[in-house]
Symmetry: C2
Subunit: 355 residues, 2 copies
């Protein structure tokens, strides 16, 4: 058990890379900060976390991560306000979800202090890496993977928990996204691991997404694997539609990630009196609404892309354009959320977390 940040041993870098970074032109997730947190699980227990210079990890070729995809991760963002305070958004929910994911992947749960104190200590140390410009933030990636050895297909006996961070710009380089409603491939099985942020869920989406990209779309909207009848979610976003003035999103399930942005939007909608329904959403209903003009908006919601308006969707060979609204729900939710995240507004929900 670590009780306070002081107990985390810190080895500082001798040569900061920060002056080599162009903070005005940040890519997403490919420039890395000076430090990382590393914590090993061995002999049935998590050892003390250490902060060290961001550096390569050395692993045995039989480490189970290479063979059996035993890994989970989280995606968060750290924000800096004009007074140089550092903020996170609902980090305890990321902590809880990490453990939900770990359990499903037969991985050891992480004690809360390791996550929260680890985050705080690392972000304090690399605070200068947190961008301040609009739309930029420090992307924070906590992850756990199987470092234990062996070619037997069974859970590893050793794991590594790492937090690495990357100052990042927008997730989608172009503003509006064109999506394809998928009917051939699927993301998740009933009784599978779709609700977990497990590594393998993501690699499985790459090929179908490539096929969609070749057809001119940026993202796939997944549907149920049984009959491809219901809208599920996108690669790293939950999906909302607005039919007339009602917001609709599918329920979370064992196939769908319980997104923090999604639930925040639902809470904002409730507070602002926007009619919202959480119910199974048929592809047909969305197509019909697009045809008869009642489909006003469609957007993705996730930490990386925040609220990402969808410009058009493809389905069975036809493309359906969404109207361009002056006052969209998407922009309203995005403003409300980012104002809280960057400490530009009151936070009546208590979501902002001071580091």
């Amino acid at each position: 058990m670590i009780g306070t940040a002081q107990k985390i041993a810190i080895e500082k870098t001798k040569t900061s890379k920060i002056t080599s970074v162009d903070f005005d032109n940040l890519p997403f997730g490919s420039v890395f900060s000076d430090h990382m947190l590393v914590c090993d699980y061995r002999n049935g227990a998590w050892e003390a976390p250490k902060i060290m210079p961001y550096q390569p990890i050395s692993l045995d070729p039989s480490a189970k991560i290479f063979h059996y995809g035993q890994s989970v991760f989280e995606g968060m963002k750290a924000y800096r306000d004009k007074d140089h305070n550092i903020w996170l958004f609902r980090p305890e929910d990321n902590y809880k979800r990490l453990n939900v994911s770990s359990k499903r992947m037969a991985m050891p749960e992480l004690p809360k202090e390791y996550f929260m104190e680890g985050l705080k200590t690392l972000l304090q140390l690399d605070r200068d890496w947190i961008p301040q410009s609009e739309g930029s933030s420090l992307y924070v990636r906590p992850f756990i993977f199987a470092s234990g050895r062996g070619f037997h297909a069974s859970p590893a006996d050793e794991y590594k928990f790492i937090i690495a961070t990357a100052p990042s710009g927008a997730y989608f380089s172009s503003g509006k996204v064109k999506v394809l409603i998928e009917e051939t491939y699927s993301r998740a099985a009933n009784g599978g691991v779709g609700f977990a942020k497990a590594g393998g869920n993501y690699a499985g989406q790459f090929y179908p997404t490539q096929l969609a990209v070749e057809k001119g779309y940026q993202q796939v909207i997944w549907t149920d694997d049984n009959a491809h009848e219901y809208i599920e979610e996108a690669g790293a976003m939950n999906i909302f539609v607005r039919i007339k003035d009602t917001l609709v999103t599918g329920p979370v399930s064992d196939r769908i990630l319980d997104g923090i942005t999604r639930k925040s939007i639902l809470e904002i909608a409730r507070e602002e009196g926007i009619p919202a329904e959480v119910r199974k959403l048929k592809v047909n209903e969305v197509v019909e609404a697009a045809k008869n003009g009642t489909l006003k908006e469609m957007f993705g919601a996730g930490t990386a892309a925040v609220v990402s308006p969808i410009a058009a969707f493809g389905y069975r060979g036809s493309d359906y354009d969404l109207p361009q609204l002056e006052k969209s729900y998407a922009s309203r939710f995005k403003k409300r959320i980012t104002d809280i995240q960057y400490n530009r507004s009151e936070d009546s929900f208590g979501w902002r977390f001071k580091v």
Copy 2:
């Protein structure tokens, strides 16, 4: 392109570990031979493979294998006969399947020579590591994973192909296996990645398997994720049942791995005149057959466990024992296959491959 084995650079170990290994008491897949083959994919091409001492791999913490489970593997065995010839079993089928898996995981396909010449050169070099005792062999693990960097959920731009080997004893420590027919969790989705030997498919099975182990079973038999109505496969084995004298196994699909042992058994059955049916197999049919005494055998088939007789299966809270047969199909297939593998018999199929 490499044309011949000579072109693979070899760095030999200075200190062989072989004298420290107890070849009479080999575990499965946790003792590793002296050398490994490593080949990097960079700038859109596979570089020349190298053989080097088995050693840790160094990777950036943002390598996509850690985050998105982008990896595929194969499992093979090398055998040594009494004249010290080295044999593989249908290795070109493993090569082909590796590429099938890679394609689904949006990973670059590997040229055939890299795989075949790499295998041959490595096995020649580590030939003394191939056990000769009955039931033991050198387990061969070719695998490819995403080494390219970045937190963007998209395919990596760099990969590593590695072949590592482990002298191994039996996969299941106890001879006969008790399995649970699973009705809550699932292994694969329609349109998913179940047919690929992709890392994430395996980690997803660990937790449900742990729950089964707690109830006294060794393995889970997966069923379809839709209604759990049909028998699919086990964790690392395809499943056969014998009802009266007919052998039945389910068809392969996009959810089920096209096992090399499975198809070899079907070919042997054809040659030996054993009636065999490849058709969807209802759980109910198996339960009924167990109840009315027509279910004679049930066994798993896979490289690691070869042919693995099932002693009993659990379903909806009841256990069903399989009879103990004097002359089982399982032992007949196992003998036929291992005799070919260890070069103890003619190989009318042309499956044995001399290294």
